[in-house]
Amino acid sequence: MKKTLILSFSLKITYRVNGILYSLKQIPLVKKLLPGELYGMHWLKIVASVLSVIWEVASVFLGKFLYLLLMVFLPCLLYDGLPGQEVFLHILLFLTVIGGFANTTLFNPTKDKYYAIILMRMDAREYTLVNYGYSILKVVIGFLPCSLLFGLLGGVPVWLCLLLPFSVAGYKLSYVSYTLWDYERRGNVYNENKLDKFQWLGIALLLLAAYGLPAFGLVLPMGIPAVLALLSILLGAAGIPRIYRFGEYKEVCRTLLSDTMSQMDASSRSVRTVKQANEKKISADVSITSKKSGFEYLNELFVRRHRKILWKSAERISYVCAALTVGALLALYLKPQLRPMANKLVMTCLPYFAFILYAINRGTSFTQALFMNCDHSLLTYSFYKRPGFVLKLFRIRLREIMKINAVPALILGFGLALVLFVSGGTDQPVNYVVLVVSMVCMSLFFSVHYLTIYYLLQPYTVGTELKGGTYKLVSIATYMVCYFLMQLRMPTLVFGGMTIVFCVLYSVVACILVYKLAPKTFRLRMG
C-alpha cells in the first residue's frame, strides 16, 4: 500500500515537473537560455519536486478555503434578513450533493490514472484504492479548518462544523459505492466528465435550489442539513466495505480511460484523430465544381467544400447581429425613454465592438482549416513553395477571409448607425460614416492580422499540432489588447477615426512584411 502511494506520487510529480519544463521550452526567448539536457538536470528536478510537494499540500487547504469562501460564505452575505447559519448550511448541502456525483475522483479519467494503470501497468485495484483513500483523506483534512472558520463565522454550532467535513466525504463515498454496485448489476461505467443531460439538468436544479430558493426567502431549517449530514456519514461508512471489496477496478478503469486515451496519447493516434476530425469538415457534395483555373480553382474548391465551417457560422453570426439590431430598434420605438441612453451608448462604446469583432471573426478557424486540409499536404510539394505562388495564394486567401468577416461587420456597422439615427441622431453626420467604416476596418484588420501571423509564423507542425510559441504569444496579446479596449470609453468619432487609420496602416505594413518574408517563413514545421 505504502509503496503504491509513493510510486503514484512520484509518477505524478515527475510528469508535473516535466510538464513545467516543457512549457518553459515553448516560450521563445526563454528557450534559448535553457540547456538541451534540461530534463536530465538533477538539481532542477529536486527544486521542481519540492515545489510540487508544497503545492500538493497547499492545494489541500487552498482549494477548500476558496470553495467555501467564494461559493458558500460570500453568497450568504447577499441574502439579508435570513438566518445566516441556515443559509450557510442550505447552500453547502446542495453544493455537496452536486460534488457527490460530479466530483467523485474515482470516476474521473485523469492523466495520472492513464499513466499509472495503462502505461505503467500498476495494479488497478490497489492504485485506485490507495489514491481514492488519499483523496478522501484530503477532503476531510482540507475541509476541517475551513469549515470551522467559515462555519463559526456564519454562526453554525461547533459540533456541526466538525461533522461537515466527514459528511462531505460521506456523500462522495455513498455515491461511489452506489455506482460500483450499479456497475456490478448493469455493467455501466460512470464517467464524471461525461455527464448525460439528466445529470446536467440535476446540477442546474440543485444550483437553482442552492442559490435561488434563499432569494425567495426559502431556506431549509437547520435540522434537515444536520440530520442529512449524520445520515450521509453513516451511509458513507456503510459503503466503505463495498468499495474495498469491489473486484473489478481494472475493467472499470480501462473502460473509463479508453475514451480519453486517444486524446492523451500524443503519438500518431491523436494526430490521426485530429486529421479525421478535420477531414469530416470537407463536404462530400459531388456537385461542387469550379470553372476557374490554377490557384483560383484551388481556392474556390476549398471554400465551397468548407462552406460549413467558413461561411455557415459567419452567416449565423450575421443573422444574430441583424436580429439584435431589429430588437434594439423595436425597443427604442416602443420605449422612447430608452433613447437618450442608447444614443449616449452608441456615441461612446465603439471600443467595446473591437472585442465583439475579435470574438466573432473567423480568422483562426479559417487558417486552421487552411493548414489542416490544404497546406499541410501541399507544403510538402516544392512547386507550392515558389515565392510567386505563395504570394498569389496569400492574395486570394486574404480576399476570401475579408469577404467572410466583412458581412457581420457591415451588419453591425449599419445596425449601430440605425440605432444612432433612431435614438435621436447626432449633430455631426460624419459619425454615421465613421461607425460603418470603422467596423469594416476592424474586420479587415482581423482578417489581415490572422492571415499574416499564419503566413509569417506558420505555427503548426507536420503532426498538425499547434507548436509555435511566438504565434501563441501573439494570439494572447491580441486577446489582451481587445479586452483592454473593451474597458475604454471614448467618443465614437475619436476612436473610430483612430481605428480606421490604425487598421489601414497595419494592413499595409502587414502585407509588405508578408511580401518580404512569407516565401521564407511559410514552411512546414518539422517536429
Binding site: G36, E37, E279, I282, A284, V286, S293, G294, F295, Y297, L298, L301, F302, R305, H306, N373, C374, H376, S377, L378, T380, Y381, S382, F383, K385, R386, F389, R523, L524, M526
Partner: protein
C-alpha cells in the same frame, strides 16, 4: 548533370545530425540511402528540400551550362506518409497542378492518360482524395512529382507501406524514370536497396559515404553494408 552537396551541417541543440557533408550525385542513377534509426536521413532530405534550414553549407546543380544554386523546382519529394490535399478529387488535384505548372511541364497530355499510366482506376479518378487508400494516395503523390520532371527525386521510405503489387509497380516506375535525373531513395529495407539502387550510400556519424561494390558478390556486399551500419552504434 551533377547534384553537389558542399559542407552541409545541421545540429539540433547540441546533437550534430549532419556533420560537414560533401557529396556529389550523378545523373541517371538511383542512390539508396541507408542509415540507422535517427541517423538523420529525413533531416538530410528536409535540408535539401529547404523544409529545414541547414546550419551551413550549400547545394548546387552542375549542368553543361555551369554551376547554379538549387531551386525549388529542381526537387520532387515523395514522403513515406503520402500527403495529398484531401478536399480535392484526384482529377482536380492533377488539373490544379498542371494549371500552375504549364510552363515547366511542356506537352500536357489528357488527364486520363496520366491516371492510366499510374494504374489509377477510372472510377477512382473523381473521388475525393480523403477517400483514397494509402497506396492510391502514394500513387497520386508520385504522379504529381514525376509530371513536373524534377532534376532530383527524393523518396523517403516510399515503398514500405504499400502492398506487394503496388510496390512492384512503383519499383518498375522508378527504374523507368531514372534517366536524366538523380533519384535518392532512403530505406530501412536492405533487400529493396540492393534490388533497386545503383549505388548504396550510408549516412554514418553525420557524414555520407559510398559502399564500394567493386568485385564483391551479393552476400559479401550485404555483409559489408551491415558491418558498416553496425559500427555506427
Amino acid at each position: 548533370m551533377k547534384f553537389i552537396i558542399e559542407h552541409v551541417s545541421k545540429s539540433y541543440e547540441k546533437k550534430e545530425v549532419l556533420r560537414d557533408i560533401s557529396f556529389t550525385f550523378e545523373e541517371g542513377k538511383i542512390y539508396g540511402l541507408l542509415g540507422r534509426n535517427g541517423a538523420g536521413k529525413t533531416t538530410l532530405f528536409n535540408c535539401i528540400n529547404r523544409d529545414v534550414k541547414a546550419d551551413g553549407g550549400e547545394f548546387f546543380l552542375e549542368t553543361d551550362a555551369g554551376r547554379r544554386g538549387l531551386m525549388a523546382d529542381d526537387i520532387g519529394y515523395v514522403l513515406s506518409t503520402p500527403t495529398v490535399p484531401e478536399f480535392l478529387t484526384g482529377r482536380e488535384f492533377l488539373k490544379f497542378f498542371i494549371d500552375i505548372n504549364e510552363k515547366t511541364i511542356g506537352r500536357v497530355r489528357p488527364l486520363d492518360e496520366y491516371f492510366g499510366f499510374m494504374g489509377i482506376a477510372p472510377e477512382d479518378r473523381d473521388k475525393l482524395l480523403k477517400d483514397y487508400s494509402h497506396g492510391m494516395k502514394n500513387k497520386m503523390q508520385m504522379l504529381v512529382n514525376i509530371i513536373a520532371r524534377p532534376n532530383i527525386l527524393l523518396l523517403d521510405e516510399p515503398l514500405t507501406s504499400l502492398d506487394v503489387v503496388v510496390a512492384e509497380e512503383m519499383k518498375g516506375l522508378l527504374r523507368s524514370l531514372k534517366q536524366n535525373r538523380i533519384t535518392i531513395f532512403s530505406t530501412h529495407i536492405l533487400d529493396l536497396a540492393l534490388d533497386l539502387c545503383d549505388e548504396i550510400i550510408l549516412l554514418n556519424h553525420g557524414g555520407l559515404e559510398v559502399v564500394e561494390k567493386s568485385h564483391l558478390d551479393g552476400r559479401e556486399f550485404r555483409e559489408k553494408i551491415i558491418a558498416a551500419l553496425r559500427e555506427q552504434a
